[in-house]
Amino acid sequence: MELIAPAGNLAALKAAVLAGADAVYLGLKNATNARNFAGLNFTEADIAQGVAFARQHGRQVLFAINTFAQPGRAQEWRAAVDAACRLGADALILADPGVLAYARQRYPQQRLHLSVQGSATHADAIELMREQFGIQRVVLPRVLTVTDIARLIEKTTVEVEVFGFGSLCVMAEGRCLLSSFATGDSPNNRGVCSPAHAVRWQPRDGQMEARLNGLLIDRYAPDEPAGYPTLCKGRFMVEGRRDHALEEPTSLNALSLLPRLAAIGVRAIKIEGRQRSPAYVAQVVATLRAALDAAQAAPARYQPQPDWQHTLARHAEGSQTTQGAFDRPWK
């Protein structure tokens, strides 16, 4: 299985390559990717250097252009596709069918991946995208169990990539009504759900208040772990009790499932977190590299090492990590 690492800047790209990622995914500095954050992402000059660095080390660079073109602005998404192809992308990670069609027609040889934002969760949807746009890989939404994924792989020739580690969110991959309610933005239209300009943290009465566009979404006691300031992870009064109404901040951790994922034919494991620092990238990539190597060398004897789990837990959002939808015995 390949290891796919996030990079929000050149330093993170280099850290990922040096820590053993097989491929790095990145985005341009605009709304064409789902991590459109202030000061984050690559200029074209940085990308040229990053691609050269990855090539020298025999690794690949994937371009995420995985938001949905907004009415009247499709040209920005086409321009992003042009830039990625010009800069030597090994693959484009796309979600919008219009953008997929453009990329396929204009660059028939370009390798295309269907983004997690494309929300293809079953073989028929994936096969349709292959027939129409010639996608070579699909990144699966984080809603399927390992059994679901195994069945799906049997029914498609498209390579399957799944998430192995990172923050989770409860939206139907990309389309978030919650964030649209609070900020008017969501990942699929603006590349961000809780833009920093709408976020305020204020100390009050010894606690820290988190507000999103003026809405109080959480209040943290001094030593309480915090999460990203999104509406879904806030705590609200419901029937007289203050709690996480929708979701407790949680991180996915599929470390213990690696041999199973390899056995059913998953081709790549992706790490979330283009918004995180090179320090995160270096440590999380190195951990998953060690785990993947161990799982490949002796799958039957594979056991996640305590220090791997410790490193991942340290970087996790929220006080708990989970196997997410991969393992749902009740299903």
Binding site: G8, A38, A226, G318
Partner: protein
């Protein structure tokens, strides 16, 4: 006098120049170049364990002292964590989740500062030196 009371006794105006000097040295050493987005912006930094507060701003591409009270962004962390951040040894989101880094004021400016720090490539000697401080 304990270290914690030091900051309460020495006026912030006297403390800002040393911090600026450190950042200026880093800038001259070419490993912390302020980006255009920081031009004219101001930040107050509180070293929570020492009880020290510094204000600084970025003008004409240089770091200069600035009043604490009217800074647009306020960041608070221990001296050790600030050094780890400056050396690129720790992830700011990780510190934030663990409540070791507090941010108030202009969050977008905070993100610009964070992403700027993340994007800087540190010289090898600094990385080696920093690796000897406990990494987390």
């Amino acid at each position: 006098m304990s270290v914690a009371t030091f900051g309460a006794v020495v006026p912030p105006a006297l403390l800002s120049p040393p911090l600026c000097a450190v950042l200026e040295l880093a800038r001259l050493g070419r490993w912390l170049q302020p980006p255009a987005e920081l031009e004219g912006r101001s930040v107050a930094l509180t070293l929570t364990d020492l009880g020290l507060r510094h204000g600084l701003c970025c003008r004409d591409g240089r770091f200069r002292p600035h009043g604490v009270a009217d800074a647009e962004l306020s960041l608070s962390a221990s001296l050790a964590d600030v050094l780890l951040l400056l050396a690129g040894q720790v992830d700011a989101d990780t510190l934030f989740f663990q409540r070791r880094l507090a941010i108030a004021g202009d969050t977008e400016l905070g993100l610009v500062v964070k992403n700027w720090l993340d994007a800087q490539e540190r010289p090898a000697w600094l990385t080696r030196l920093a690796a000897r401080w406990s990494p987390m």
